[in-house]
Symmetry: C2
Subunit: 393 residues, 2 copies
């Protein structure tokens, strides 16, 4: 075989991530590679830690990107904080709580599951019951923003409960970081991981994490070695840790780190509260359009993530055919449902750079055209106008 | 704090990696991001598997990049093939054999170490003795090209020994892939991992791996779950595996995969044997220059990697000061020694795009100037000419 250079089509990314990447970030990505121990690079790393603290709203010393995607950020939290024989209370209200359970089991620990309906927030009362019933638990794990359903949970209340029961929290903020209010320091979350390809609009491949001082102490006090060499924070911090000499651990993904730095600079320029507001405003317009069309949201209003809009697929409509038409005719990507929600919902992302008025209107227009053409039971020709009215105020 | 965009200095990268990245690859890296399940992306993934088979010289079905740096590629091999209670024979002749030992231990298995002097190839006789003494061993792990010392080992002979003792091989080819003869299929290596930032001249962040059919069978036949969720090939192959539908596992590092694809296209255009020859030719010229200067190679000639030249630091010369001068005055990065070789050797890489005549000459000129200026006991003013004579043939 002879292969040629790959030239990707230009898409509009309104699925659950990756989201549209800001061209500034793509340009930063392609800057000349330098060594991962170059003094110029090390200075950039230090600056990035401050920028991550800004994004996470925390003063925690440990704030750094794991050199792999969000799932590795999740695993970094579990393998460092969970030891064989431990009990971990895990909340599941979508795909990612299930992945947390897998992580707990693979650490040789016992998960105690708190299950909520997919599409709903985590129920704090059930969590409290589980913590009371399992006084031996030392970790509570939950997803702040469930990417599989578009539901947001009350991380502040859950963290408060965890503290009261002497548990550390492991919190998934992959889809919330930069898009929804998240106060890692103010809420006292302990081990928090995120992704780069959602509301930061950066390319995928890194997982920002931040750990509270008590979480770091727990890692240092472990009696058994962390089962992953690659993710062992005791080693990784020799490279990312503050002060003194940087020790080689692994070769950092230099260019992707340029991109994340640029994404965080852009977030700081906009201001994180302005970013949260933009995500909210564009969601309200998209929602007006979707509802005018007759589509219904899966998640109750006060548990809804503005950056990830999960809507039910109308009766009789062919899920895959609609998404294929959107991709082929409009170069527009929206997301399918996962697990039990496959074929039942679409997930429409408005994340980061993709959260803009142009995308709201063009997505509604494309969806309207494709669904009407396929004879779907929707109200045609009203969605774009409904959204425009919201923008007009 | 307010951070600005980061603009890296333009370096010449002649350390142990990352090496200079071909501008074609940086451009590919910055192409528009698309979804990790986009049909266009999936077609690119399939093509990449063929390109990896070309680079590894194998027909193995499993050939894919792990979505994280080389150390995660190493860990992927160990966590999938090693189970608690296993015995693994590990060859150590540098830093990376030690890391393999760590991996074995963290899998709950017992490493049997075969130690060789740093700077020497792995001694096949000692390996045979260890395999005979440990008939319970089922895996032999070794480093083909030791990045910490510049020594290459006879992977073909070691693999043959392993087969004779009913062991699978785990082989580190991080620094050899693309730069030195490597015949994964022909030699019958079983679980092979590499990096992107050495002789492929791609940005760091991915680890190409390839597994023989019998290695894949061993993974499928495991009685315990792989301890890492992120690296569990049973799951990862749902996304990267051949045929049928791609299942979401993690969000692939889309843009870095564009870059790797381009790097592999470039390798195919040059031809892998031509690439091996280029690495060898440039090494011979650099070597002539270094030896004319009076510097000595650490590794005996027939165990020497052409792409990573480890030379002793002359008596009384300040290692760090020389490297700092090269970086500041010539924007040239060469590598320091690791572990017991810190302060005793320099590692001069001629890898991938960085393996060219211009780099050979400018590196020799810069080293000559800096060492002379610092009063080092070298022969001044002869290195560049010695290398030029080799190029002139």
């Amino acid at each position: 075989m002879t292969a040629d250079s790959f030239h990707p089509p230009v898409r509009t990314l309104m699925g659950p991530g990756p989201s549209d990447v800001n061209p500034r970030i793509l340009e930063a990505l392609s800057r000349p590679t330098i060594g991962h121990l170059d003094p110029a690079f090390v200075a950039m790393m230090d600056e990035m830690k401050d920028l991550l603290r800004y994004a996470f709203r925390t003063g925690y010393e440990l704030a750094m990107p794991v050199s792999a995607p969000g799932s590795a950020g999740m695993e970094t939290c579990f393998v460092n904080l969970v030891s064989p024989g431990d009990t971990v209370v895990v909340c599941q209200n979508g795909v990612f709580g299930g992945r947390m359970k897998e992580n707990v089991e693979r650490c040789g620990a016992t998960p105690v599951m708190v299950e909520d309906e997919w599409g709903r927030a985590v129920d704090a009362n059930k969590v409290e019951d589980a913590l009371k019933a399992h006084p031996e638990a030392r970790v509570l794990a939950f997803v702040h923003a469930e990417t599989s359903t578009g539901a947001i949970s009350d991380a502040s209340t859950l963290a408060e409960l965890a503290r009261r029961h002497d548990c550390l929290t492991i919190v998934d903020t992959v889809t919330s970081l930069g898009g929804s209010p998240l106060e890692v320091g103010g809420w006292g979350l302990d081990a928090v991981y995120s992704g780069t390809q959602k509301c930061l609009s950066c390319v995928p491949g890194l997982s920002p994490v931040t750990f509270s001082e008590r979480a770091v102490e727990a890692v240092k006090a472990r009696k058994t070695k962390v089962q992953s060499w690659f993710m062992d924070l005791n080693l990784v911090l020799g490279y990312w840790g503050g002060g003194g000499k940087r020790a080689y651990h692994h070769t950092a993904p230099v260019n992707t780190l340029y991109a994340l730095h640029e994404a965080l600079v852009i977030l700081q320029e906009e201001g994180i509260e302005a970013s949260w507001k933009r995500h909210r405003d564009n969601h309200l317009a998209l929602r007006a359009g979707l509802e005018a069309m007759g589509l219904s949201f899966v998640v109750p209003e006060d548990e809804r993530l503005p950056q990830l809009n999960a809507v039910g697929i109308p009766e009789g409509v062919d899920d895959a055919a609609v998404r294929a038409r959107l991709l082929e005719d409009y170069s527009l990507e929206i997301g399918a449902g996962l697990g039990p929600m496959a074929g039942k919902i679409w997930r429409i992302g408005l994340m980061g750079f993709a959260s803009n008025r142009r995308n709201v209107l063009s997505c509604l227009g494309a969806l309207d055209a494709v669904l009407s053409d396929m004879g779907a039971p929707i109200e045609s020709g009203v969605a774009v106008e409904a959204a425009s009215r919201v923008f007009a105020g």
